[in-house]
Amino acid sequence: MAELVLGIGVPHTPYFPQMVEEEGKLSRIGSLFRQVSERLEAAAPDLIVFLDSDHLVNFFYNNMPAFCVGLADEAEGPHETSRQMPWYKVKMNQQFARKLLRYGLESGYDLAAAEELRLDHSILVPLHFLTPRMDIPIVPLFINGLAHPLPRARRCHALGRSLRRFIDRWPGKERVAVVASGSFSLEVGGPQMGWIDQEWMTMVVELIRQGNAAELVRRATARRMLKAGNTGGELLNWIALLGAVENSSPSFIEPDLQPLNQPRDGHAYAVWEVK
């Protein structure tokens, strides 16, 4: 039977690959990703399920799914014309994805499906650092965290639990990692740029540390997440991940700190080593 071996939460800032290229692997961001990628190498997964919010690249307001499974055999990107990182081709496990779609629909989650995908930096920045050889197939499960109205946190958490049940029942022998991509407090292109909601950031990190999904879900309303910045809804990916790891505490969660212990980006890096 398949087995969930690892949960990961990371940010995906578009300029990180270039920054680490310039500042070196021992730089702050390089080291934070290294802490995570070492755990990934040790866990040796052969499939990565990606909980991600499309950045208005693959989906647009003409057709905006709350939840969508990617069913392609492979996909490329990042498709943004403003990309600042290498172009990658990524393999996908279509068989797993199709069964996940069916399982979701049969258990009450009205998932959309996409047979052709244009990947953006929110998947490819994490992969650039975690699996630079792009040798582990992925299955993207998109959660709308950026184009309001958003799905409810409670629903995202339940979807994560359902994903875990599916992994546990999947007859393949895959060792599965689930990666949640996103920030807790960050504004992109809007008036609050440069401002971090430290109160929210601190509380979210603490609730995740405790595995207190019930409290996090209660607090993570669309309005509250938006107040923390227009990427705030990406927290929904982490909330779904908490469902998948059955609200366990992470082996570590590291808010991105500056020397004076001030959160800089509203980001965190976390790993769950699932026993």
Partner: protein
């Protein structure tokens, strides 16, 4: 008019290299395929970040003007103009409008 087509212009710039070139080369021609009101088309061509934000353009998309140095917008002047809407610690007017429009 809905802000939909304004967003669609920016979305297309950010996801279609050919359209980006076309827009740089001749914005009027590039915009002809979108159902924009005269005010919307004028605001895009003038790089009028404030008006476009007030209309409800998604900041992720509006920001492409700065990322690609289009219509007189660059990172520095974009930041200065969008910051006018900042209201620390509470939801900005623009986000409120976007939320109202989408029922979020």
């Amino acid at each position: 008019m809905s802000v939909y087509f304004v967003n669609k212009v920016f979305y297309t710039i950010e996801t279609d290299d050919d359209f980006l070139l076309k827009f740089r080369d001749n914005a009027d021609e590039a915009l002809a395929g979108f159902r924009l009101s005269p005010e919307e088309a004028a605001a895009i061509k003038a790089g009028d970040v404030e008006t476009l934000y007030r209309m409800g353009a998604h900041p992720f998309l509006l920001n492409v003007l700065a990322r690609h140095n289009l219509c007189g917008v660059n990172r520095d002047n974009y930041l200065a103009r969008i910051k006018k809407f900042a209201k620390k610690g509470s939801m900005s007017a623009g986000s409120r409008r976007r939320e109202e429009q989408t029922g979020g």
